[in-house]
């Protein structure tokens, strides 16, 4: 064995098998290139301004906001699994807790990174803390996401410090141990924060009185989208975790968790998707018959601009909602890997579609009588910047998978990985 491979092996957990150093390095190369391209594109945006994007005054939110909303929703698996394990004592899900934390950390840090490029004056980000407008959903989102990213960081640190070599440093090991004992507190705080910011991200659109396509009535200061976003995020989070775990199992060719854990994730996701679909249907009916007409807008008009027809609404509720909910809840389909993964894909696809509709369709639709239906295609800089987030996620996850004990159930005979 070459000396670098020996040195590399020493950082890998005892008792687990990982691909060779060379193959791992080759796997990282394309992602590193994508990351480099994206960082360059993001640099262009920071240096020359947002004229590098194809957003404009009529389309002030674009690809970045849509994907930010999506990855934050998909990253909800992190807080929700923590909530299920530590607060509701679903011990079985401990098998995916570490991977949930890593995925959550990647999603949130990636989203915050993109937001920092997306705003016109990133150096003024602290203004939100200094002069907060507490009526703004975006203020709540900013506060909660910042706090939650710190929480995720301190949930990720114990996983990181459990690395075989880092663990050898006594102070790291002790800190990991002490922090780990307090993680339930962080999980509880994370749950509170996540409920609020997932909701507020929905509120972001629900409060837009000037955009009757998105505007919703609700309870007290929270429009219905506040609750729908929470529901859809906790429905999609477990599905996304299921997909990631299955994908990693597929890519690495190793069994990482018991199939029953995936089934459990699927069942939770299915149940919540069913509740979400019901709530979404009621909300849509209320909006069609009450909210939109009361603002002077005939709701069917919104669907008269092709290709954004009513099929989109139906697809969102039936194909990406009802269908996967049934698949995940029916005992026959829920116990087959293929169906489970397809259903999870549909649930996650539904989240993407929902966030897409709320971001893109809302902005594309005319409000004034003489407005046009506007279109927007992201520039290469926008796409590449987002590609960088994906590459960053893959790289961080790959490194974490290789060097950290992410899956306590991954074992070779007689060995038990020290992930807890």
């Amino acid at each position: 064995m070459a000396s670098y491979a020996v040195a590399d092996r020493r950082w890998i957990e005892r008792g687990v098998e990982r691909t060779s150093t060379l193959r791992f390095a080759l796997w990282l190369v394309p992602w590193a290139l994508l990351l480099a391209l994206g960082v360059y594109a993001a640099g262009l945006c920071l240096r020359f301004g947002l004229n590098q994007t194809n957003m404009d005054n009529r389309f002030p939110f674009g690809l970045w906001i849509f994907l930010d909303l999506s990855i934050i929703a998909l990253g909800a698996g992190a807080f929700f699994t923590g909530f299920l394990v530590y607060i509701l004592k679903f011990k079985e899900l401990k098998a995916v807790l570490n991977t949930a934390v890593v995925v959550g950390f990647i999603c949130y840090s990636g989203a915050v990174g993109i937001l920092m490029i997306d705003v016109g004056q990133p150096l003024r980000a602290w203004f939100t803390f200094w002069h907060p407008n507490t009526h703004s959903m975006l203020t709540e989102v900013t506060f909660c996401i910042t706090c939650y990213l710190v929480v995720l960081l301190f949930e990720y640190i114990p996983v990181l410090l459990r690395n075989r070599q880092l663990r050898r440093v006594p102070s790291f090991l002790i800190f990991e141990h002490r922090l780990h004992l307090l993680v339930p507190v962080l999980a509880a705080v994370g749950t509170l924060l996540s409920f609020f910011h997932q909701g507020s991200l929905g509120g972001l659109y629900g409060v837009l009185r000037g955009r009757p396509f998105a505007f919703r009535e609700g309870i007290a200061i929270w429009p219905s989208t506040f609750f729908l976003f929470i529901l859809s995020a906790i429905a999609a989070g477990p599905s996304f975790l299921l997909l990631i775990t299955s994908l990693v199992e597929k890519v690495t060719g190793r069994k990482l968790v018991e199939f029953s854990v995936l089934c459990r994730l699927g069942r939770i996701s299915g149940l919540l998707t069913a509740v979400y679909v019901a709530a979404k249907a009621v909300d849509t009916l209320a909006w069609l018959n009450r909210t939109s007409p009361s603002l002077g807008f005939a709701p069917w008009e919104f669907y008269s601009y092709k290709p954004f027809g009513t099929w989109l609404m139906l697809a969102e509720i039936v194909l990406f909602g009802l269908v996967p909910a049934v698949l995940l809840l029916h005992p026959k389909t829920a116990s087959r890997r293929g169906w489970l993964i397809s259903a999870a894909l549909l649930v996650c696809g539904g989240i993407l579609l929902n966030r897409f509709i709320l971001t893109v369709q809302t902005l594309a639709l005319p409000t004034l009588a003489f407005d046009e239906f506007v279109s927007y295609l992201p520039s290469w800089q926008e796409v590449a910047s987002f590609g960088a987030v994906v590459a960053y996620g893959v790289i961080v996850y790959s490194l974490s998978y290789r060097y950290l004990p992410l899956f306590p159930q991954e074992k070779r005979e007689g060995y038990r990985v020290s992930g807890r």
């Binding site: 200094w130 407008n133 301190f154």
Partner: protein, 269 residues
């Protein structure tokens, strides 16, 4: 954000929102500070070594956490629940009273009866002046052969049982040798002098966690079996099972073997 800053209003919503934010931020902050503080406390009260050892022990493969009484044949199957620290084992006396069975041979290795052995392959010998001499046992010496370098603690330094006593370097491998007992280093030796440390414990030490008598050969047998599997080299290993003699400087002789794993198991990483 704060009263006096432009934009701060003494309204209900504003106060509730900021109050919640500060409560959350404070909770996160206190949690982290508490973790740091407790870690510092662990080091101050010298609990850190024991906690580290407990954590690492919990991460060891189950097969390597076998109770000494199982090795000695006193009990059929038992995984140690006390991180090999028999001093805190409530059932020690119960098992120790049972008759032991063990191989009569020590496999051609030199394990003098006057010494006590730690599961991390060190030995302890009480001296007449109240100090204890600590050395690397014969199996470990055979594996490592002549280490490339040794890093010993300074005289006067304190070592804790199951903490790192000294480190050896051999090729690309670094081995942390675990201390068998607590104490203050009085004198340091080295590989060529046959012993590494002389320590003076505080008061009369409890040494019941160290192996002695028939347990030693039983343990050795199990260790050799493990090594044979781990090193997995068809040319060298069978000799061990056949009662052959472990060759000196095995690491030099078998550079291609999985020493990373073998050394970790041997020295209880």
């Amino acid at each position: 954000m704060f009263p006096g800053v432009d934009g701060f209003h003494w309204t209900f919503g504003h106060v509730v929102f900021l109050g919640l934010f500060f409560a959350v931020a404070l909770t996160i902050f206190t949690t982290v500070v508490r973790a740091v503080w407790r870690s510092v406390e662990d080091f101050r009260s010298r609990r850190a070594t024991a906690i580290c050892w407990d954590l690492e022990f919990a991460g060891m493969p189950e097969a390597e956490r076998c109770c000494r009484h199982e090795l000695a044949g006193r009990v059929a199957e038992r995984t140690c629940p006390n991180s090999f620290d028999c001093r805190r084992c409530a059932e020690y006396e119960k098992f120790a009273a049972l008759p032991a069975s063990s191989p009569a041979t020590s496999f051609g290795l030199d394990y003098p009866a006057g010494r006590l052995y730690h599961r991390g392959h060190t030995w302890v010998r009480p001296e007449s002046d109240g100090t204890y001499t600590i050395g690397l046992d014969d199996l470990a010496s055979h594996l490592v052969g002549k280490p490339d370098s040794v890093e010993l603690p300074e005289p006067g330094a304190a070592i804790d049982a199951n903490g790192t006593a000294w480190t050896l370097r051999k090729g690309r491998n670094e081995v942390r040798v675990r201390a068998p007992i607590d104490g203050t280093v009085v004198e340091t030796g080295g590989a060529d002098r046959g012993w590494y440390l002389r320590v003076r414990p505080e008061g009369e030490p409890n040494l019941r966690h160290l192996l002695q008598g028939p347990e030693v050969t039983a343990w050795l047998s199990k260790e050799l079996e493990r090594l044979q599997i781990q090193l997995g080299a068809p040319d060298a290993a069978p000799s061990l099972a056949d009662g052959g003699i472990l060759m000196d400087g095995l690491m030099d002789a078998m550079p291609q073997a999985d020493w990373d794993n073998a050394l970790a198991s041997t020295f209880l990483e």
